[in-house]
Amino acid sequence: MDELTLIAETVRGILGRVPTDEDAAGWSPSAWTELERAGLTRVGVPEEIGGSGGDPAQTAVVLHAAGYAAAPLPLTEATLLAGRLLARAGIRLPDGPLSAGAGGAAVPAGDGWALSGSVRRVPWGGVAGHVAVLARAEPGPVVALVPARGLPVTPGRNLAGEPRDTLDLSGVRLGGDAAAPVPPDTHESWRLCGALGRVLLMAGAAERTLEMCVRYTRERTQFGRPLARFQAVQHHLARIAAETAALRAAAQAAVLAVAVPDSEPGAGGPGGRAWASVAAAKVRAGRAAGEIAALAHQVHGALGVTWEHGLRRGTTRLWAWRDEFGSETEWAAAIGARVARTGPGALWAALTDDRLPELQEVET
């Protein structure tokens, strides 16, 4: 078994063994603990700051498996977002549940930093021990590792019931070792990493949803035969499978594009190959998510729209995640603007070239 498969199996094993149903606070502390013990909540984060190391492909299989299991945990946040922010800032990774958010402002205060404002819709912000915050500052952005317990919280939820909490940062004072300036393209990198994380989660959720559809249409009988025997239903299944395949391919292409050595996902800004691949993946994934969820509910009939049925664990997440870190509308317009500016050839070259991490600017 190769290393990636081993990691995927391990995550699936843990999430299959530990109860992953949300508690009242909307998460599963025991699942977090198990994954953290295995080093899987810090996969892809450099060892220098206390991460487990590994490349984007390793992070990808963890997130894919988490999406498949509908794990109520801030895994994208801990790995792709907080992990990368803290690596850029040179801040050590804390123990315990870790999330991330972008918002608020930081100003130097004595040897440290004073924070103000709020950071919106932080995944599991209310239960996280720490939140890595990408805050506005002069002259460029600052990353702050904020101890989150006790911060004033305005709770929110996404469509799947996952906590998206707004944290009030006013009055937070941090020492010089808990915050540091980061390069100006960190916002771009943040957005790309977030989009990539949601794409990977969606790819996992789509696969689970497809499996549920296949199982249900085999078991459910109408007019004296299983639903799976009706051609109209079979075509729905084929469509779900096709969209799932497209979503997977989009996710895999994006992971490979950001896996170019020494290439941060945001590097090069709009137009880089990593940018183009992640943007395209978010667009395609968002469209697939909508199709898959709609068709999955169609084949499940009224049963699928009940709270008790497990289908919602996939479909509500697909609906929520397609709108987080930019909907397909936003990313598609950005790609379109790029194509209109540089011509189709430049984007085509970027998409087909397996070497160049960056698209050379071809202004005509």
């Binding site: 299959g16 590994g54 894919h64 497809l210 075509h235 895999q252 395609r284």
Partner: protein
Amino acid sequence: MTRSPAPTPTPSSSSSPSSSPFASFADGLDPVPPELAASCRRLREQVRAFLADELAAGRFVPRCDAWLSGWDPDFSRRLAERGWVGMTIPAEYGGGGRGLPERHVVTVELLAAGAPVAAHWIADRQTAPSLLRFGGEAVKRRFLPAISRGECFFAIGMSEPDSGSDLASVRTRAVPTDGGWLVEGRKVWTSGAHRAHAFFVLCRTGERGADRHAGLSQLIVPLDAPGVEIRPIRLLTGEEHFNEVILDRVFVPHEMVLGEIGAGWHQVTSELAVERSGPERFMSTYPLLVALVERLRATGRHDNGELGELGELFAELLVLRRLSWSIACRMERGGSPEVDAALVKDLGTAFERKVVEAARRLAPAEPDITAADPYERLLAEAVLHTPGFTLRGGTTEILRQIVARALLR
């Protein structure tokens, strides 16, 4: 790569999804090996340079669906001189001895340019692989070197007037005779038969019995053989790419039987995986997409909705290329991903149509097949060719049945 975070794996019932038709997600994350990536990069640059020269010299005009309608034997021969026809044929048979991923790189570029590749397309795509897999030494020696030189073109002899999607119902029949077989029947929708040199005829050589796929065979029939009559069929564009081919007691010697008598169904379905998964299943209207972008750039004003529609098309294109590429890589490793191929064709041909509708919305024009304006002409070609995309090589309905059957297996 640094320290692996993974401890001992825990077996779990959810670890191997039973009903998923896909390989594991991790399998798709292998990077392209550096040597292959370098070879693909060189090829891509060479093909792009060649195409730029051809265009500059006015030797071809980009067209939609040129892999069906752009018949230019001279162009095929020029490609062959550079080693880009018969790339996957081993050197001992005159080919390039390269892999399917490298062929994929070349065909993607040719399709992107709307280059006239129809003459050699079928021979290169599916005839040569079938000959290599199933053919005897004599037919390999006879056809493969000529295919590699871009001098021997093939057509496909599958469909019949009464057998379209239901391919196993073919009625063309071959009966044993002295030294071979006598073939009697009719084939239809035979693209390029009026200009190609030969085709594989799927025919009944034995009774079907309980297994309707039994008793079928593939015979290699030169299109100038005595008893072969070719009647062109005009397409919606008014052009003739299709034909009806009448086989009136055509003699086929034993050595021109492809593979084994009675194994025709197995052979023909293995042909379908290559036939369905190639980039021509999503790039038939790419030249229109290029012309659309140029036209939008010329007008210089776009709202977010228009840009979004454009962006969606490019996002889809990236994903389709990736899907098709990964199938080429899997076939190279010896797999026969027929279900994936069916999936890709379904998605790809829907995209080809989507390009046409997007063009109509974003840059309205009156399509005209005779127009001097390339955009108006490409739009006309695309509209008139569109119905064929979701029919040829397996209708969308059949593809979905294939996928559903695999899911429910």
